[in-house]
Symmetry: C2
Subunit: 492 residues, 2 copies
C-alpha cells in the first residue's frame, strides 16, 4: 500500500494540502453510478460521511446502491439515505428504526458480517465488487488523509475501491490525528503477524495513504456526528455491574494471566456504558487496567481522568454529545492514553487471544444451554447486527455475556429454553451475568449449564417454567435434551 507522503510523526497544522479537486456534494453524488457499490467510513455512530450520503438521498435518479460500512453510521446514511430508497443492498450494522424496518421488510438485502472480517472480505474475500470509497477526514493531501472520529475498516475500503471521495469536516478537531495508529497488515499469505506487543503501543501512521489517481473529489463540510444517547444506569444495570465486579475480583485472584494486568472489553450500549462506568468501584490492586476493545464509551472517561486506566485501544469512540465535547476539549491529552486502530487490528482474533482479554458483551437473549442470540428477536426480526461481538466472544480468554434477565418491564424472559438464532455458540461463552447473579458454566455439560443458568441468572418469575422445561426434556437420552415445538411455543 501507498503510505502517502506525510510521515507519521508530523503533527498537521492545517487541513488542506496540495492541489486538491475541491467540489460540492451534489456534483460528486451525480458522478456516482446509480448501481454503484459505495464503501463508507463510520463506526460507533461517528466519523461517517454526511454531505455525500445526503446528496445521494436527494438525487432524483432511481438509485440502487450497495452501501458497505463496518460499524454503526449516523442518520444521514442510516435514516435519510435508507428512507430515500436509494439502497438496494447493505452491510453490516444498523441502528435506526427506519433501517431496521427496511431490513425486516427485506426492501434492503442486508448481510450481517463480523466487524473484524469485513475489511478482508471486501478487499480479498469476494464479498462485493467495490467502486467508490466515501470517507470523512480532518485533513487531506494529494495521496493521504487523516480520518476523523472513527477508523473502522476505512484503510481496507480505500485500498479496495476504484475511486475515493473525501469529506473534509471542519467541525471535527484537527487534533484527532493524535489518536490514530493506522497499521496495515498487507495481503495474505505474506502479511506476517501484527507486531503489536502492548495495547498502548503505536505501530502505524496517523493517516491513510492512497494512490493519488483514485482521488475524485474533496467536499468540505461542517456537521456534527449523530452521537449516542445512553440512558442513565438502571437498578438492573447497577446490579449487573455489582455481580460482574464480584466475578472479576475472584477471577483476578484465580488466574496467573491477571497477576500484573487485566485487559477488558465491553460491548456498546447503555448497559456496556454503565458497566464501564462502574469499573471505578472495583479494587484492581496493583494491576494495570487496560482496555482492548472495539469501542470506547463515556463510561471509560472517568477511569481515564482518574489515571486508573493504563491505556485504551479501540476502533472508535461511541460517545454522547457530552462525551465528545469532553474529548474534543483536550484531544491531545486523551491521546496519551487512547489509541484508535483499524477494526482489523482492534478486533483481530490473534490480538484478542494474545492479550488474554476478558470480553463482556450483551445480547438479546441466551438459552439455558448457553447459546446466545444477539441479533434476531424470535430468530426472525433483526435488531442491529452482530458487530464485533463475535470477535470478542470467540477469542477472549474469558467470555462474559451480561444482560438483564427480562425486558419489557419484566414481561419477557431473556433466558429462554432455545435460542432460534445463534450468534455465539455454546462453545464460546464462559460466564453469564444478570441482575440475579452469575452462572460460571466453564467445564460444565449442557444440562449442568442449564441448571446453573436457571438457578443464578433467570428471573424468579420465569425460573419455574424454565425448570419445568428442563425436567420435561431430561427423560430423553440426548446430550442436549430439547423439545423444539415446546420451545417454540415459549416464544409465542
Amino acid at each position: 500500500m501507498n503510505r502517502g507522503s506525510v510521515p507519521a510523526d508530523t503533527p498537521l497544522e492545517r487541513r488542506l494540502h496540495g492541489d486538491l479537486p475541491l467540489t460540492d456534494a451534489a456534483s460528486v453524488a451525480a458522478g456516482i453510478p446509480a448501481d454503484a457499490t459505495v464503501l463508507t467510513s463510520g463506526f460507533g455512530s461517528v466519523g461517517y460521511p454526511k454531505a455525500i450520503p445526503l446528496a445521494l438521498a436527494e438525487d432524483d435518479r432511481d438509485l440502487g446502491l450497495t452501501v458497505v460500512h463496518s460499524g454503526n453510521v449516523g442518520a444521514e446514511i442510516d435514516v435519510d439515505l435508507v428512507e430515500s430508497g436509494a439502497v438496494d443492498r447493505r452491510f453490516s450494522y444498523q441502528s435506526s428504526s427506519v433501517a431496521r424496518a427496511a431490513t425486516n421488510r427485506r426492501e434492503i438485502a442486508f448481510s450481517d458480517r463480523n466487524a473484524s472480517a469485513i475489511g478482508d472480505e471486501v478487499q480479498y474475500g469476494g464479498l462485493v465488487d467495490p467502486d467508490v470509497a466515501v470517507v470523512e477526514a480532518v485533513a487531506v493531501g494529494e495521496d493521504w488523509f487523516v480520518p476523523s472520529t472513527s477508523l473502522g475498516q476505512v484503510p481496507a475500503f480505500v485500498e479496495a475501491a476504484d475511486s475515493l471521495l473525501v469529506e473534509l469536516n471542519r467541525r471535527q478537531p484537527l487534533e484527532l490525528q493524535a489518536l490514530h495508529d493506522i497499521y496495515r497488515p498487507g495481503k495474505p499469505p505474506n502479511r506476517g503477524p501484527i507486531p503489536l506487543s502492548d495495547p498502548g503501543e503505536r505501530i502505524g501512521t496517523t493517516h491513510v495513504g492512497f494512490d493519488p489517481e483514485k482521488l475524485v473529489g474533496v467536499v468540505e463540510t461542517d456537521v456534527a456526528d449523530s452521537t449516542y444517547i445512553f440512558r442513565d444506569p438502571t437498578a438492573d444495570d447497577l446490579a449487573i455491574a455489582a455481580n460482574l465486579g464480584s466475578f472479576l475480583a475472584a477471577e483476578m485472584e484465580r488466574s496467573p494471566v491477571f497477576e500484573d494486568a487485566v485487559h477488558l472489553q465491553f460491548g456498546v450500549g447503555s448497559l456496556g456504558n454503565a458497566l464501564m462506568g462502574e469499573l471505578k468501584e472495583l479494587d484492581f490492586g496493583d494491576r494495570d487496567v487496560v482496555y482492548f476493545g472495539e469501542l470506547i464509551q463515556d463510561g471509560l472517561f472517568d477511569m481515564l481522568d482518574a489515571g486508573r486506566l493504563e491505556c485504551a485501544s479501540a476502533t472508535s469512540m461511541a460517545l454522547t454529545d457530552e462525551g465528545q465535547e469532553r474529548l474534543f476539549a483536550d484531544v491531545e491529552r486523551y491521546a496519551e492514553d487512547i489509541v484508535l486502530r483499524p477494526a482489523d487490528v482492534a478486533n483481530h482474533p490473534g490480538l484478542i487471544d494474545q492479550f488474554g482479554v476478558v470480553g463482556v458483551n450483551s445480547a438479546i437473549e441466551f438459552d439455558i444451554y448457553g447459546n446466545v442470540n444477539s441479533t434476531h428477536v424470535g430468530g426472525k426480526r433483526m435488531i442491529n447486527g452482530v458487530g464485533g461481538s463475535a470477535d470478542f466472544n470467540r477469542n477472549s480468554l474469558v467470555t462474559v455475556c451480561a444482560l438483564p434477565s427480562t425486558l419489557d418491564g419484566g414481561d419477557i424472559s431473556r433466558v429462554v429454553p432455545m435460542a432460534f438464532h445463534v450468534d455465539h455458540t455454546e462453545h464460546d461463552v464462559d460466564v453469564f451475568v444478570t441482575e440475579q447473579g452469575v452462572a460460571d458454566v466453564r467445564g460444565r455439560s449442557p444440562v449442568e449449564r442449564a441448571e446453573l443458568i436457571i438457578e443464578h441468572c433467570a428471573h424468579p418469575d420465569f425460573a419455574p417454567d424454565l425448570r419445568a422445561y428442563l425436567e420435561g426434556v431430561q427423560r430423553q437420552d440426548n446430550h442436549i435434551p430439547h423439545d423444539v415445538e415446546r420451545a417454540a411455543r415459549w416464544q409465542d
Copy 2:
C-alpha cells in the same frame, strides 16, 4: 517454560536419557487419585497414551475421573476407559459408539470445546483444575520428551498439570521427532504474536520441556495407534470434489490473494480424505499449494509424493494403517515437507487469517439461511464434537461447507429449514458445496442465501418442500422469516 536440556537440533538416537523413574502402568494408575483430572495426549486418533488408560479401566477402585484431551483419541480411552465407568467428566472430542452413547445418556458430563482454545482454557481459563498429564512419547529425558504421532495441546497440558506420566512407545518410530515444531506462545498478556511467516517454517523445538520435579513415572509400551478407517470415495464424494474443484479454479482467478499460492485446509473424515485425494486432479498453474490445517490425512500423501504440495502444517496425522506405514517407512523424507505443531499454533485464529486460508469442512447439516450444525443430530444427539472446525470456519478467508445433500441412502435431507444446533453461524460460512452444486452466498441476504442453497445444493427430492417452506414464511415482515414449529416438524 522450561525448554529442557536437549537442544532442538540434536537428532536423538536412543529413547531413554538419564535417570528415569521407570515403572509399570498398573503401579502408576494406582497412584492416580480416584477423582483426578487427567490431561492426555492424542489427536486425530493417534499419539494418545495406551497402557495407563487401560490400567485405569482395570483399576478396581470406584473412579470418577475428569479426562481432558484436545482431539480424537483411540479405543483405550474412547472405549475401554469409558466402558469401565471410570470417567465422570470429559473434554472434548469423541468418536466411538460407546463414548457417544455414554455422552447422550449423560452418564459422562461432556463439554465440547474448540481445538485451538482448550489448551489456554485448561492452562489459564479456569476450565478444570488439572492434576496429572499422561502423554505418549518416542523419547524421554529427565526434563524433556519427544511426543509421538500427534501434538494437540500436549505442551499446554504438561505446563498446566501438577505431575507428569510418560508412556514411551517403542512401536512409534524415533524419527517422528523430525516432524515436530513445538513453539510455546507463553502467558497472556505478554505472549507476543506467533512469529510464523510461512506454514513450512520451524520456530520451535522437537521436544517438550518440563519441570523435572513433575515427572512421576515412565512406562514403556509397544502398542500401535487405533488408526482411522476411511471408506473408498463414493460417487457423491467425487461429485463434491469436482464441484469444489470448479469453485477453487474460479476463486484462484478472482482474488490477488491466490496469485502465487493457495493455502488449504480440509476437515477430517472420509469425505475430507477424498477431497484431499482429488486435489491432484486440479490445475493450480504455477501456484504453490500449501496445506495449513489441523489434520493431515492419507489423501494428501499422493500430492506430497508427487512434489505438488509445497508443505503441510498440522497438529496430527489422521492416517489409516496403510498411511501410517507409508509415513513410518520414510519419516525423515516426509519431514522435509510436513511440520506438526501444537494445536494452539496449528489452529491459531491469527495464523489462519494471516495465510488467507480456504477452509473446507463438512457437517451434519446446514439450513437454508446458512447456519451449520456439525455436532448434534436434531439439535440434541451428540455425534463427535466440534473439534477444530470452528477455528477454520470462523477465521478462513474463504469458508466452504462441503457435504452430500442427503444421508441414509437419500431418505434424509442434510439441507433443512432450520438447524436446531448451530456450531457455525450465518456470519461465518461463505460457500456451500454438495454433489448437486455450489451455492456461493457471499454478500447475500438470508432469503437470497436460501434461494441459492435450495437451487444449487438441495437434493431434487427435497428441494420442492424446502421451497414451499421458504415461500410460506416469506409473507412475514422479518429479516429471517421462519416458522419454528413447522421447521421442527420437518425433523420429526
